[in-house]
């Protein structure tokens, strides 16, 4: 359920990847995604795929959870692959109709694209399944913190604060929306039937009270934060410290090996 957004997709299985510093995980995610898209030939991509599968095994997350994330993105995947089918510029023509033709080049492009997107979903899921949204937020704040040297100090802190508060309040607001919906239903509001325009209209008596109560909440929260000596992040320390440990360097090293492998295979074959 959406209500469990606090833990997002987090799935505890005590793996090495769970314990890895979230900052390292985020950086490596980007690095690996770039290199997956840099893989030029079948060997390089195959190597990347094998590496991603090994990472997935290390996370000890059930494979069906990965597939669940796949399902959501399947239409996009199919669409992109089909589009690529027609983009082949060279190679033997397999099928041709109207102004379109499918070549062997197109087929290989389509397969490459499908594999790349699949790997991208798998590797991003490996991050979200092993890291809580809170840790992600913290890590992003810390990774972006060098921006303070170019005068964006407040922007980074504000962004992180907004994410923290959003994570905290989404379950509360969902609960409230449900309450209001039930209250309106009890008064005879029909939210499920009718034409689209009617259903949209029926939403108004839900959204307005929700909006008003959110504004009130925001006001009270601001006061509560002020009472807890919040003044925009100036001079703020953090209880949780992030330290890179030995295992983080091992994970980092292994990932660099994967990237190196992809490049080598690209050049050699």
């Amino acid at each position: 359920m959406l209500r469990d957004i606090t833990f997002g997709q987090y799935y505890e299985s005590h793996s090495l990847i769970h314990k890895t510093d979230p900052r390292v995980k985020i950086v490596l995610l980007f690095l690996l995604i770039i290199f997956i898209f840099l893989a030029q030939n079948g060997f390089a991509l195959g190597f990347a795929a094998a590496s991603v599968l090994i990472i997935m095994l290390i996370t000890k997350i059930p494979f069906k959870l990965y597939l669940k994330n796949m399902k959501a993105i399947l239409p996009v995947l199919i669409f992109t692959a089909v589009l690529n089918l027609f983009y082949g510029e060279s190679g033997r023509v397999l099928v041709s109709f109207w102004k379109l033709q499918i070549t062997t080049d197109g087929v290989s492009r389509a397969i490459f694209m499908a594999v790349r997107i699949t790997l991208l979903i798998f590797i991003s899921s490996a991050l979200t399944y092993t890291t809580t949204p809170n840790d992600l937020t913290d890590a992003i704040e810390r990774l972006l913190s060098p921006l303070k040297f170019v005068g964006l100090k407040n922007a980074v802190h504000t962004l992180a604060m907004m994410m923290t508060i959003a994570l905290r309040f989404i379950p509360t607001l969902i609960e409230e929306a449900e309450k209001i919906m039930n209250a309106q239903k009890a008064r005879g509001a029909d939210l499920e039937n009718g034409k689209l325009t009617e259903r949209v209209k029926a939403l108004i008596p839900i959204l307005i009270p929700l909006l008003i109560s959110s504004v009130r909440r925001a006001y009270e929260l601001a006061e509560a934060m002020e009472c807890r000596c919040y003044n925009g992040g100036e001079g703020r320390t953090r209880m949780k410290q992030m330290h890179m440990a030995g295992r983080d360097f091992i994970v980092l090293g292994a990932s660099l090996v994967i990237c190196g492998g992809i490049i080598t295979l690209n050049i050699l074959l």
Binding site: R3, T6, F7, P133, N134, T164, I165, L167, R168, P171, T172, E175, R217, E220, L221, E223, A224, M225, E226, C227, R228, C229, Y230, N231, G235, R236, T237, R238, M239, K240, Q241
Partner: protein, 282 residues
């Protein structure tokens, strides 16, 4: 008297284009260090307005408030005043900032720039003080109202305040949650010596106080020990307040010629008074 808070001739006005409402009128008040004070008053009598001035959240329109000698209008010490006088509000949902209990409790000390190791210690201490240590790693929205409110109190305690001001902290709770909060407050007051100022609508919560203030229309109209306050049933009714059932019963007995002491507050004391009176009738 050693005062932690001194309110000196303070007026507070809410202004908009046309009207000016004076919610607190020329009020003076001393809160003794280490005491437990309860403020009663009907809706709109100015309790919240007064409370929000005690930690400088609102500044008096006229007059001054001193917290441990610091004027709340002194901008340089604004943070220090808020640290010394912690504030807890009615709705715990709107006071909890983080989605993990310990991170929420850490929010105050983090803002104060306390070193990380020390924050960890303070968070544990604060959670232990409100008896919520076992929920350290839970997420607040899965807790009961009383538990959430105790987390909110822990978030304040972690800033190591001298004084706690609570504006109807039990108003949204069930009887069990209410009892938890009151118990916690009494313990914090007795064991940690934290000054407590509790605003409430529940008369029974005032019974444990050292002192009860009754507000009406922006002014303090009574200021005494709970027993004395509640024995004056007529005055309480005049300002629209409920009277504890025991006090009302004794008051009516007395009015009808029974020789009872109307200062008895607990059910047991009241029962003893009535038994005594019945015996003396014979």
């Amino acid at each position: 008297m050693d005062s932690i808070i001194s309110v000196k001739d303070v007026t507070y006005e809410y202004k908009d284009e046309e009207t000016t409402v004076a919610a607190v009128k020329a009020l003076s008040l001393e809160i003794e260090r280490g005491s437990f004070t309860v403020i009663l008053g009907h809706n709109g009598s100015g309790k919240s307005t007064l409370a929000k001035m005690l930690n400088g959240l609102n500044k008096p329109t006229s007059g001054d408030i001193f917290v441990d000698g610091i004027n709340t209008k002194d901008e340089e010490n604004e943070i220090e005043v808020k640290r010394k006088v912690g504030m807890v509000f009615q709705n715990p949902d709107n006071q909890i900032i983080a989605s993990i209990v310990e991170e929420d409790v850490a929010f105050g000390p983090e803002n104060l720039g306390v070193p990380p190791k020390e924050i960890k210690k303070r968070v544990d201490d604060a959670l232990r003080a409100v008896d919520m240590l076992e929920f350290k790693e839970s997420t607040p929205h899965r807790l009961s109202g009383g538990q959430k409110q105790r987390i909110a109190i822990a978030g304040i305690i972690a800033m190591q305040p001298e004084c706690l001001v609570l504006d109807e902290p039990t108003a949204m709770l069930d009887p069990k949650g209410r009892a938890e909060i009151i118990e916690t407050l009494i313990r914090l007051n007795k064991e940690k010596g934290i000054t407590v100022v509790l605003i409430t609508h529940y008369m029974e919560e005032a019974q444990n106080a050292d002192r009860v203030l009754v507000m009406n229309d922006g002014e303090i109209i009574a200021d005494d020990k709970p027993k004395v306050i509640f024995s004056d049933v007529e005055r309480l009714k005049r300002v629209g307040l409920d009277v504890p059932q025991t006090a009302e019963l004794l008051y009516n007995l007395k009015k009808n010629g029974f020789n009872v002491d109307t200062h008895a507050l607990s059910i047991k004391e009241a029962a003893n008074e009535i038994i005594k009176a019945l015996h003396s009738e014979e």
